[in-house]
C-alpha cells in the first residue's frame, strides 16, 4: 500500500480551504524534535504550509476535539481521521456529542504510529530530530555521530502492534485504499493477567495504580470521556476527588472511569499513550471489552452510528454475575 504523505494531506487541506468547503483544519503541528507533534487548528494555507506535519508520531485522536471545536469554531472543520479514530468519531455521533454537518472528515490510511519510548530504547537519549525514509526512521541524537536507522515496524506503539482495524467506519472522503478489520491479539495481555492468581493480579495492579498521579490526562484525552462535568470534578457527586490520597482512591478512580466508558470505549489507546507514568490503563478497558464480547457477543463500539451499547441492553437469557466465574473456572 502506498503510504500517505504530508504533501497529499496538505494539498487536500489547502484545496478544501480554498474552495470554502471548510473554514479550518484540525491537523498535526510541528514540534521541536520531530516526535513532539501538537494537534493544531490551522486557519490558512500559509499556516498549514509552515506548521503542518504528518508522520510516524501523529497518533493523537482528533475525534474528541470535535466536541468542543464544532461548538466554538465557525464553519466546517476538516479533520483527518485514522481508522481507529473513526470508531471514536462514530461513537461520539451515537452520543450526539457533535454536529456531523460541521465536520468534513477525511479518512487516511495508517500503518501504525511509533512509540517514542521504543525509539529511545533503541537509539538512546538525546533525540534531536527524526526523519522518515520509507519504512525506516533516521534518528539523529546528541550522542551518536551518524543518524541511527530504525525499522519503523520495530518501534510501533503497543496499540498499533495490536491494531484492531485498518478500516474506516466513517468519513466524507477517503484518501488511499480502504483496509480491513483485523484479527488482533489485543486481548492476549488481558488473558495473561486473567490466568494469574488473584494475589498476583492484585499485586500487579496495586503496583501499577500506585504510580497514578491523577493528572487526569487519561480522562482528558479519552474520546469517551466527554462529560460536561466529570463526576470526579463534581463536589455534589459524592465521589469527587482530586488526588489519590491512598490506594483505595487510585482504584476507585480507575474502576469508575473504566466502568463509565465500558461499552463505549472504542479501544483507541489514547489513555495509555498519554499516561505520564506508563500505567497500562488500556488493559482495564480491554478487560471490559473482552468480557462484553464473551458474555454478550462481539461488540465494537463505534462500528456503527446509533448502535445500542451492551451495558444499556439486555437479553432475558444473559448470564448471571455469579456465572462469570463458573465459566472462567477457578484459577487459583
Amino acid at each position: 500500500m502506498q503510504k500517505i504523505t504530508r504533501e497529499q494531506l496538505l494539498e487536500k487541506a489547502c484545496a478544501l480551504l480554498a474552495s470554502g468547503e471548510v473554514s479550518c483544519v484540525l491537523g498535526w503541528g510541528a514540534g521541536e524534535f520531530g516526535y513532539d507533534v501538537t494537534p493544531t487548528v490551522f486557519k490558512t494555507a500559509e499556516e498549514l504550509k509552515e506548521g503542518f506535519v504528518f508522520g510516524d508520531f501523529c497518533g493523537v485522536n482528533f475525534s474528541k476535539y470535535l466536541v468542543s471545536k464544532t461548538q466554538k469554531l465557525e464553519g466546517k472543520i476538516l479533520v483527518f481521521l485514522k481508522p481507529c479514530d473513526t470508531y471514536s468519531f462514530n461513537q461520539l455521533l451515537t452520543e450526539h456529542r457533535f454536529d456531523r454537518e460541521k465536520v468534513y472528515a477525511v479518512g487516511i490510511p495508517c500503518e501504525g504510529m511509533a512509540d517514542i519510548a521504543k525509539v529511545k530504547a533503541i537509539a538512546g537519549e538525546g533525540i534531536v530530530s527524526i526523519e522518515a525514509k520509507g519504512e525506516k526512521l533516521l534518528v539523529t541524537t546528541l550522542y551518536e555521530d551518524a543518524p541511527v536507522e530504525i525499522d519503523a515496524k520495530d518501534v510501533l506503539a503497543e496499540r498499533c502492534v495490536n491494531c484492531k482495524s485498518k478500516k474506516h467506519v466513517a468519513y466524507d472522503e477517503l484518501l488511499g485504499e480502504e483496509g480491513d478489520v483485523l484479527d488482533s491479539a489485543r486481548f492476549d495481555e488481558v488473558a495473561r493477567l486473567e490466568a494469574m492468581t488473584p494475589d498476583e493480579r492484585f499485586a500487579f495492579w496495586q503496583n501499577e495504580l500506585s504510580k497514578c498521579i491523577r493528572c487526569n490526562a487519561c480522562r482528558d484525552a479519552c474520546p469517551a470521556c466527554t462529560c460536561e462535568k466529570c463526576v470526579f470534578d463534581n463536589p455534589n457527586s459524592g465521589v469527587e476527588n482530586k488526588s489519590p490520597a491512598n490506594s483505595f482512591e487510585e482504584k476507585m478512580f480507575h474502576i469508575i472511569r473504566a466502568f463509565h466508558v465500558a461499552g463505549r470505549c472504542t479501544d483507541c489507546g489514547e489513555c495509555s499513550r498519554v499516561c505520564p507514568q506508563n500505567i497500562p490503563l488500556h488493559l482495564l478497558n480491554r478487560k471490559f471489552i473482552k468480557d462484553i464480547n464473551e458474555f454478550y457477543g462481539e461488540y465494537q463500539a463505534g462500528a456503527e452510528v446509533g448502535a445500542r451499547a451492551p451495558l444499556v441492553n439486555y437479553t432475558t437469557e444473559d448470564l448471571e454475575p455469579g456465572e462469570v466465574f463458573d465459566r472462567r473456572g477457578e484459577n487459583a
Binding site: A203, Q206, N246, F259, E320, P321
Partner: protein, 144 residues
C-alpha cells in the same frame, strides 16, 4: 487473651418490590441471619450504582450483596436485566484487579422467598467471614 470473633459487615441493597419484601417476610417468619447484614432499600436493583458498592467497601464493608426481583419479574420490567449485565461486568473487573470474588454477589429474591433471603444472607456472611477483613479495597482513613 481472647480474640474477638471477627464479624464481617455486609451491606445489602434490596429492591423495594421483591427483595426488600422478601427480607420482611424473613422477619415475619423469624428466620435469623447475622445482625451485621444491613439493608438499604432502593426502588430497583438497577438503582445500585457501582459507586455505592465501592463506597461501602471504602467505608468499611466487608461484603456487598445486591438483591432484586427474579429476571422477568422486575416491577419495572427490565431493571434487573440491566443490573445483571452491569454487575457481571463490574464484578469481573473487581476480580481482574485481584479483589476477592466472594465479597460481591447478586441474588434474586422474590417477595415470597423469605427463607431464601435468610439462607442467602447466612451463606454470604459465612463466605465473607471466611475471607476475613476487606484489605484490598479499604480506605485506612475510615478505619476506627
Amino acid at each position: 487473651m481472647q480474640v474477638n470473633e471477627y464479624k464481617p459487615l455486609i451491606v445489602a441493597f434490596c429492591c423495594n418490590w421483591c427483595s426488600y419484601a422478601g427480607a420482611d417476610l424473613a422477619g415475619n417468619n423469624r428466620l435469623a441471619y447475622p445482625a451485621d447484614v444491613k439493608i438499604i432499600r432502593v426502588p430497583c436493583s438497577c438503582r445500585v450504582n457501582p459507586m455505592f458498592i465501592l463506597r461501602a467497601f471504602q467505608r468499611g464493608a466487608d461484603g456487598v450483596i445486591i438483591c432484586g426481583c427474579h429476571p422477568g419479574d422486575c416491577h419495572y420490567t427490565s431493571g434487573n436485566y440491566y443490573t445483571r449485565r452491569r454487575m457481571a461486568a463490574l464484578f469481573s473487573m473487581l476480580d481482574f484487579l485481584g479483589i476477592e470474588r466472594a465479597r460481591t454477589r447478586v441474588e434474586w429474591v422474590s417477595a415470597a422467598e423469605g427463607a431464601k433471603f435468610a439462607a442467602t444472607m447466612n451463606d454470604f456472611a459465612e463466605k465473607v467471614a471466611a475471607l476475613g477483613e476487606n484489605k484490598r479495597l479499604e480506605d485506612l482513613r475510615c478505619k476506627k
